[in-house]
Assembly symmetry: C2
Homo-oligomer: 143 residues x 2
DNA sequence: TTTATATCCTATTAATTTGGTAGGATTAGT
DNA sequence: ACTAATCCTACCAAATTAATAGGATATAAA
């Protein structure tokens, strides 16, 4: 399951991407439009900024804008930032590898192999899910 | 991520499946062999029994045995029992559907569609991961 | 230079989930 | 009766998740 943080983050990013020709967008505006608790959203956007997914400008008329193109920001990136590993088992995680404690021999573990296949498939799809892709899908669904 | 409960459950089930020609297998034996805390395992096996995945026989020489064939028990079933939904979003869960609170219109939600595709793929693979399949994979990997 | 409106920073808290224990009642084979 | 097993109810501790509080700092415009 995605955490609320990740969902909020993706919603906020999509929102910013949709309005990216405008000025930087303020936390309070996103908070109201997307019904995300203000202070919570603030901390989320700070994290996104710290990991260089967003830019920020301070002061009046300031706010947040995408750092890269909407094609360069995908769900895998956001999930990993807020929820950590995507894999079902830590021992098959690309970015957050940990040995499974209860596992005797990693190399011959049956469920590990399955978890690895699922991770490959899932990561592939999450990486394809860029902001652009998400917005395109929404437009198609609206017809 | 799979919870420890799910991992313990799968390990225990695989263990029982491997020794299924023997008498029913006791919690304490599985606990020792698989390094799973006794009382915790007890509660896990009780849940597996309540949902008819295991049979139990009480009293001396009692213990647990598979209720169905090892082909009929798969990871999807076990995961759903202990961790709930497999899907990344509650609104695409087959067995634990819940409306996404922050979502305005489910029908036109871009990330929902992505989550649905991932769920389909993941569930397919988890259902294929029966006890038999897991054991076969382990045997292959051991060579 | 004041004011309005932003982000930034540090800390704290509340709620939920996860992982695990404790202690005894009940059942059944020898 | 004894032994070894499941069953049952309750409890607890640690970790994670979801937020809130309160102010410091920066910036554009009046």
């Amino acid at each position: 399951m995605l955490s609320k943080k990740t969902k909020y983050a993706i919603n906020a990013l999509v929102y910013i991407a949709k309005n990216k020709n405008e000025q930087p967008i303020s936390v309070s505006r996103i908070s109201e439009d997307q019904h995300i608790p203000l202070k919570f959203l603030e901390s989320i956007l700070t994290e996104l900024k710290n990991s260089r997914i967003l830019n920020s400008t301070k002061g009046k008329y300031g706010g947040y804008s995408l750092n890269g193109t909407p094609e360069s920001i995908d769900m895998a990136k956001v999930m990993r930032l807020f929820d950590g590993a995507i894999a079902l088992l830590p021992c098959v995680s690309e970015n957050f590898y940990l040995r499974c404690e209860e596992c005797f021999d990693e190399e011959t573990c049956g469920i590990r192999q399955i978890a690895m296949e699922i991770r490959n498939e899932t990561v592939k799809r999450l990486k394809a899910a860029t902001l652009t892709d998400i917005i395109k899908r929404e437009e198609k669904l609206k017809k």
